[in-house]
């Protein structure tokens, strides 16, 4: 007998919307999120920022409604709770306050979201270089504004953060963009479909207009990123753009090349994954409702493929409706009827993705960086060492890992798997696809004492 009806892992837009729908129809929901507040990364601290930090914008503030909907007698939200294991049953093992426990549920919804794609180049490990999304988290959670910052990379989030910095009175020193004119042209065939997401498109254009109006210098088709530290601790950032070598000195170098699904938990749970070539990511396989090939496990949100917050909320609702149906609380007819609104929202939210994916792809020298670039930040493994191992015959993630320790540090490959795949695929024969790296529990490091204190013995899954 399961202890709860539904465990939702992750309190971002997908998880929050699913919790509200499931609880309204009577399911007992346990939500686990490792951050101190619900909201996910996109709506981080949104409930705490209701009457302040207006520079974060309307779309951000709207996330407070999802947080408010968690105030329901059937929803138990535990923050600071890190899930580190998911077994058949399903059973969820999670750590909170230095203590781990296992909870069984009839259903589990994995809504663990995305992380920023690693942006490796020589110097990306230096203090002063950081992901743009990380700086945005500091704006949301601590009211800390990047000073004298350069934004470098590509994608819609880069424009949003630049606009937020402008509105906060701390505009970026420059915006260095990697997308080329040719990539923008190549994205145009996706424009008609993107018109279904017109409000999002217009919002993007208004962000770019704001950056123009603030007269932030922009460079496009940039490549060859390289950072060093000056004597005073500033970052000297070199790159190539407009056919010339450029360099800028800044306090902060904020990089961004889009986001990728966090798949450690779905891979460790044995869910089938496939390569999404358009987005350049591995993602779990699931049906129209987010149901996976593993009994009791659904996925929703950016962890299942990048679609953004509105798509995540819609997918969360669809997964919850399906779980209600499987629990016998909704007929499949009622489920289908009630899904119509979320399906339409999901369609609109996803309509703009092909345009964005084609216009702002991660550049090749980020996917497979130069030899003197650290790829594995934990174990300090360079791209040159990895290329050498590949030349010597190492095949796939696993052999690179065993020969170089690449991906064996505490981040468990979260900061190097994507780059390692880029290096492996540079030479791989197209008929032999690269398998996603294996993920095993504990998918986040925990103290041995905490592991030992788990009272009942558990078997390692195959």
């Amino acid at each position: 007998m399961a202890e709860v009806d539904l465990i939702i892992i992750g309190a971002g837009p997908a998880g929050m919307s699913a919790a509200a729908v499931a609880a309204r129809d009577g399911l007992q929901v346990l939500m686990l999120d490792e951050q101190p507040q619900p909201g996910g990364q996109i709506y981080r601290n949104v409930a705490q920022n209701r009457s302040k930090r207006g520079f974060l914008g309307q779309a951000y503030a709207a996330g407070a409604d999802l947080v408010d909907a968690l105030d329901h007698p059937h929803i138990t939200l535990l923050t600071g709770a890190t899930v580190w294991r998911l077994d058949k049953g399903p059973q969820v093992t999670w750590s909170r306050g230095g203590k781990s426990r296992t909870t069984s549920a009839a259903h589990v919804l994995i809504a663990t979201g995305a992380q920023e794609r690693p942006v490796p180049f020589p110097g990306w490990t230096l203090p002063g270089a950081m992901p743009a999304g990380a700086a945005q988290i500091l704006m949301k959670t601590a009211g800390m504004l990047p000073e004298d910052a350069v934004l470098a990379g590509s994608g819609p989030l880069l424009y949003l953060i630049a606009a937020q910095m402008i509105d906060a009175g701390s505009p970026p020193q420059a915006l260095i963009e990697t997308q080329t004119y040719r990539q923008m042209l190549g994205a145009l065939p996706h424009l008609p479909r993107a018109l279904f997401g017109l409000p999002t498109l217009l919002k993007g254009l208004s962000l770019i207009a704001k950056i123009r109006k603030a007269a932030v210098p922009r460079y496009t088709a940039a490549s060859g990123f390289h950072a060093t530290t000056t004597e005073s601790g500033n970052i000297l950032f070199s790159f190539r753009a407009n056919g010339r070598d450029q360099s800028l000195t800044c306090g902060l170098l904020l990089t961004h090349q889009g986001v990728i699904p966090g798949t450690h938990i779905t891979r460790a749970a044995g869910i089938a994954h496939h390569w999404n070539a358009a987005q350049g990511v591995f993602q779990p396989q699931y049906d129209l409702w987010g149901a996976t090939d593993q009994p009791g496990l659904h996925v929703a949100g950016d962890g299942a493929g990048i679609g953004g917050a509105e798509a995540a909320a819609a997918a969360g609702e669809l997964a919850a409706l399906n779980i209600l149906c499987q629990s016998g609380r909704l007929s499949s007819d009622t489920r289908n009827q009630r899904a119509a609104r979320a399906r339409a929202a999901l369609f609109r939210a996803r309509a703009i993705r092909p345009l964005l994916d084609a216009a702002y792809p991660p550049p090749t020298d980020i996917l497979a960086p130069s030899d003197n670039t650290i790829v594995c930040r934990c174990e300090e493994v360079s791209a040159g060492a990895i290329r050498q191992a590949i030349r010597e015959g190492a095949q796939g993630h696993r052999q690179i890992k065993t020969s170089l320790r690449c991906g064996m540090g505490p981040c468990q490959g979260r900061m190097c798997d994507a780059t390692l795949r880029g290096l492996l695929s540079a030479d791989a024969p197209p008929d032999r696809p690269i398998a996603p790296p294996r993920a095993r529990s504990p998918i986040k490091p925990i103290a041995l004492g905490e592991l030992a204190a788990l009272s009942h013995p558990q078997e390692e899954p195959a």
């Binding site: 951050q35 101190p36 705490q48 992380q115 950081m130 999304g133 601590a142 009211g143 504004l145 306090g251």
Partner: protein
Amino acid sequence: MNVASRFRTLPETGDRVQFTLDGALATAPAGVTVAAALLAHSGAWTRRTAQGAPRTAYCMMGVCFDCLVEVDGTPNTQACMTLLREGMSVRRQTGLRDLNGGHCGRG
């Protein structure tokens, strides 16, 4: 530690928390993570790798583990996942830890 913070902290509430960094007193706004407090305090490194390279908090969301510091005697604590509390003792880490939390050189 003479590198100025790379961030400007908005003067919002005025409530501040006192903590120590490598034994020296420091303050930060109430309600922030240890990593935010360290980044607001200084732009310098908070960890050195086994090879001696300087690092500090990077992803701010619990993914990269570059923000590992010693908090109240517990090494390898993710500063970005830990809320700062009054009186906390934070120490920067150099090199690897051993199982008991002390230093462990790697040749």
